[in-house]
């Protein structure tokens, strides 16, 4: 039996109220959508979802990492390899990007299932993460949200079996970005929905049910993609779902359409509420469609204690204005000043990869102290390097020892908050603080670590670890 062994998700802390979009452009709109901070992208959100999924799991047991997204931060250069380093996975794994398609999450899931069934991998981590920038004042603007979902796929300890699947591939074009495009393009909505989404999605569902002698009545919940809330409701009606009991909330009012991560995130939301024995109907759309029968197994209840979708949704900060949103989405050009000058060095990043990407510190086997970053001599007892042993620190919680807020730093979202965080179990990390409410910081508050972009100096995304106030 192959299926999901563990799941996790990530939703950025910031939300944009659609009322703000109404104030800017006119019109209305209810609810809100999740917005990545300026230092987040599909890679950093994937690391977060992966950490949520892998908690309590021996990372060495992961043999492959598949990353699904339409917004890989590098056009050339794999994203999965950086995510694997952020998650501190083994080096001798296979990493792959499944990109371009909105359906890449479930396509990667199939590849993972095939690998574990064939025995070429014991466990495969599949992460779908998307961070699409909609054009200002477009139909997409109120719709698009940011987020990620992760599944550990294997054959042992399966909590949700992917019992049956149907895949349909189509050359239908409805939404796209050319190589040079920052923003998505689309066609008339009636064509997109009437000739694209509805017939393809319906065909996949019907073919799946027919091949497996099933009906929609067999499912506790249906978790499926739709471009909009309205088309989601229409699809539920079209295949005969009971809107009150059988439809997993697609979170358009609280999350938004998160692209390639959307259907996987709705599946995580369904799994969070699922009981052993439940069957979930999963559907995804984009360049065709796919549909799946997911059978929930007894172990599912052991996985409830994680942030997943529900707790991530509850932990939020509302963006105060549209300007900040444009800044976070990098959709506006600001004045350049002589101060906005940063550099990078790829050789330095490479040499320091174990602490900059993997968040390894040193534990001194002479005095027992933990320290970060990696050292040449123990910073406490001056013991030689042979006493220093690398230890992973990214999972450790901490408390804020001291901080400052630099209003003049050339960062995207001033003030630049510098922090010293003492970690549980030893170690102190000096870093920038992100996802912070500058009016509510205090010495002693609980903190945690997060993999983020530091800057884009010299045209390279430079990632490392920051701290943030612990999310609920």
């Amino acid at each position: 039996m192959a299926g999901i062994v563990s799941y996790g998700a990530y939703i950025p802390i910031y939300r944009l109220s659609r009322a703000i979009l109404g104030q800017v452009w006119g019109g209305g709109g209810k609810g809100e959508k999740a917005i990545a901070n300026w230092d987040e992208d599909s890679i950093t959100m994937a690391v977060e979802a992966g950490m949520d999924c892998l908690q309590g799991i021996e990372k060495r047991s992961v043999d492959a990492l598949y990353f699904a997204s339409t917004t890989p931060p590098f056009k050339e250069k794999q994203s999965a390899s950086i995510i694997a380093a952020g998650l501190d996975l083994r080096e001798d794994i296979i990493a792959a990007d499944f990109c371009s398609s909105l359906r890449s999450g479930t396509i990667a899931l199939r590849a993972a299932l095939d690998a574990v069934k064939a025995g070429s991998a014991r466990q495969v981590l599949v992460i779908a993460s998307d961070c699409r920038p909609p054009a200002p004042n477009s139909a997409f603007e109120p719709l698009f949200g940011d987020g990620a979902a992760a599944f550990l796929v294997g054959t042992e300890g399966v909590v949700a079996e992917i019992a049956a699947s149907y895949y349909l591939t189509s050359e239908f074009i409805d939404i796209w970005r050319l190589e040079c495009d920052l923003l998505p393009r689309t066609w008339e909505e009636r064509f997109v929905l009437d000739e694209g989404y509805e017939p393809h999605m319906k065909k996949a569902f019907n073919a799946l049910l027919k091949a497996n002698n099933a009906t929609v009545k067999d499912f506790a919940k249906a978790a499926f993609y739709a471009p909009t809330a309205r088309s989601h409701g229409a699809m539920a009606r079209a295949i005969g779902l009971d809107a009150k009991t059988q439809v997993q909330d697609p979170l358009f009012d609280s999350l938004g359409n998160t692209g390639a991560a959307f259907a996987p995130m709705i599946l995580v939301a369904a799994l969070e509420e699922a009981k052993p024995g439940d069957q979930i109907l999963l559907g995804n759309y984009g360049d065709g469609a796919d549909a799946h029968i997911v059978k929930v197994a007894p172990g599912i209840e052991k996985l409830k204690d994680r942030r997943g979708i529900k707790r991530h949704l509850e932990s939020k900060v509302m963006l105060e204005n549209y300007g900040k949103y444009l800044k976070f989405k990098n959709l506006i050009q600001f004045e350049e000043t002589p101060m906005t000058r940063t550099r990078t060095s790829l050789p330095a990043m490479w040499r320091d990869r174990n602490w900059q990407y993997r968040c390894h510190g040193h534990k001194c086997n002479n005095c027992g102290k933990t320290q970060y970053p990696l050292q040449k001599r123990c910073m406490y007892c001056q013991a030689e390097a042979t006493f220093l042993e690398e230890v992973p620190l990214s999972d450790r919680k901490g408390v804020l020892f001291t901080y400052s807020m630099d209003e003049r730093a050339a960062v995207v979202d001033p003030p630049n908050v510098l922090a010293a965080v003492n970690l549980e179990g030893g170690g102190r990390i000096f870093s920038q603080m992100t996802d912070r409410d500058v009016n509510n910081l205090r010495v002693g508050m609980p903190m945690e670590l997060t993999f983020r972009k530091i800057h884009d100096a010299l045209g390279v995304h430079n990632y490392s670890w920051k701290c943030r106030p612990a999310r609920a």
Binding site: S345, Q356, D406, R408, P415, A420, R428, F430, I454
Partner: protein
């Protein structure tokens, strides 16, 4: 067997330019200005200098980065093939330059030498220090960690440790700024020459919380210079020369910020340099024996913590022992920064260490530019000069005095 440096070397001439935003003045103009004053003060000529130390963090390369050598000085002043050593130890450059020159004289390698400190900070196009460094910890570790941001962490930690509310803590710092500006206003060569009130300081725009605009030193252009010889030769140049009593110099192991047992409220390198300097100078009670201290107050919190780490007052007792008793004014029991300090005199990085000694030199000679800040009787003073940031300092403590 090493010998103490005490009283072996004398300063016989000093110069200091007007500090400030000197838009019309190049780094070479400022070198010439400071050197001319120092040479004239000593009654010597440039060609008499046998070796020169040039202290500057960025030199002439402030905009684009690159190589700075002693030729910055030799090509400016047309010295003819004497050695010019370029010295750089961040904001502690000045003390290091003086130290190199002093030891060369003590070693009898030369008889008469020149020290110059200079910085041109205002060619960059923004308020704040130039950031051309491409150091070991670039590209991501400590990225965007500015001077104000790093020092402000020490203020937060100090307030927290001693139970001061933000309001109470900022008020203690504001009093320091008021004092600095009081003396800046009484120093014609100072950068910031306007007095301020506690309310102005506390309500000023925030630079790096909890430090506001008036908690931070100016970003300043300027240069300073000194002519030195061995003490036995000093009377050939002047009667009111001063001597070097001690150099305490300490580089911290540098991982304070990252060590769980460091709380930011004391500075280990500062303590180490002070201890070494006091031992060499024979000082047992610095608050009683030092008549003036020129202290490295790039920020108000820097003056507070350095005062404690130099043992001018007890740890955690700055407010009671310095502020409340107005001890740090020129007529108080422990005058600190009667020049206006880095805060108001200004902080052209490479020039500051030598400039601090300049103030003590003038105080001892009773020749400060504006008599209202003259201390009655100065026999011995401390120039404290440090580079880096809390947890990672290189610190110089230079004691000078009457022979």
């Amino acid at each position: 067997m090493a010998e103490p440096i005490k009283d072996k070397v004398a300063i016989v001439g000093m110069g200091c330019t007007k500090f400030g935003e000197r838009w019309d003045t190049d780094i070479t103009d400022m070198i010439a200005e400071a050197v001319d004053e120092a040479l004239k003060d000593a009654g010597v000529e440039l060609k008499d200098m046998e070796a020169i130390w040039l202290g500057t963090q960025w030199g002439s390369q402030v905009v684009e980065g690159g190589v700075v050598t002693g030729t910055l000085l030799s090509s400016t002043l047309q010295t003819q093939y004497v050695p010019v050593t370029r010295v750089e130890n961040a904001c502690g450059t000045g003390a290091e330059s003086l130290r190199g020159a002093t030891f060369a004289l003590a070693a009898k390698a030369y008889d008469l030498v020149l020290v110059v400190g200079v910085e041109k900070c205002k060619d960059m196009g923004f308020g704040g220090l130039p950031s051309v460094w491409i150091g070991r910890w670039e590209p991501v570790y400590g990225a965007f960690g500015s001077g104000p941001g790093r020092y402000a962490m020490a203020a937060t930690a100090y307030f927290s440790k001693y139970g001061l509310s933000n309001e109470e803590g900022k008020r203690v710092l504001a009093e320091i700024s008021v004092k600095s500006h009081y003396y800046g206003a009484r120093n014609p060569k100072a950068h910031l020459r306007r007095e301020v009130t506690v309310e102005q300081v506390m309500n000023a725009p925030m630079i790096a919380w909890p430090l506001g605009l008036f908690d931070c030193c100016g970003v300043t252009d300027g240069a300073s210079a000194a002519v030195l010889c061995r003490t036995e030769d000093a009377r050939r140049f002047r009667d009111d020369y001063i001597t070097i009593k001690a150099f305490g110099m300490a580089a911290s192991p540098g991982w304070g910020k990252e060590r769980e047992d460091f709380d930011f409220t004391y500075w280990d390198a500062t303590q180490a340099a002070a201890r070494a300097a006091y031992a060499e100078a024979g000082i047992k009670e610095p608050r009683k024996e030092l008549d003036v201290v020129e202290l490295h107050d790039c920020f108000t919190i820097a003056e507070l913590i350095a005062s404690e780490s130099l043992f001018l007052c007890d740890e955690g007792k700055f407010k009671e022992q310095m502020t409340d008793r107005r001890a740090y004014y020129h007529d108080g029991e422990m005058p600190v920064n009667t020049s206006g300090g880095l805060k108001s005199f200004g902080h052209p990085i490479g020039a500051s260490g030598c400039r601090e000694v300049y103030e003590i030199y003038k105080q001892i000679q009773k020749k400060v530019e504006e008599p209202s800040r003259q201390i009655a009787n100065v026999q011995m003073g401390l120039a404290h000069n440090q580079g880096g940031h809390p947890g990672k300092f290189v610190c110089g403590a230079t004691v000078v005095g009457t022979p």
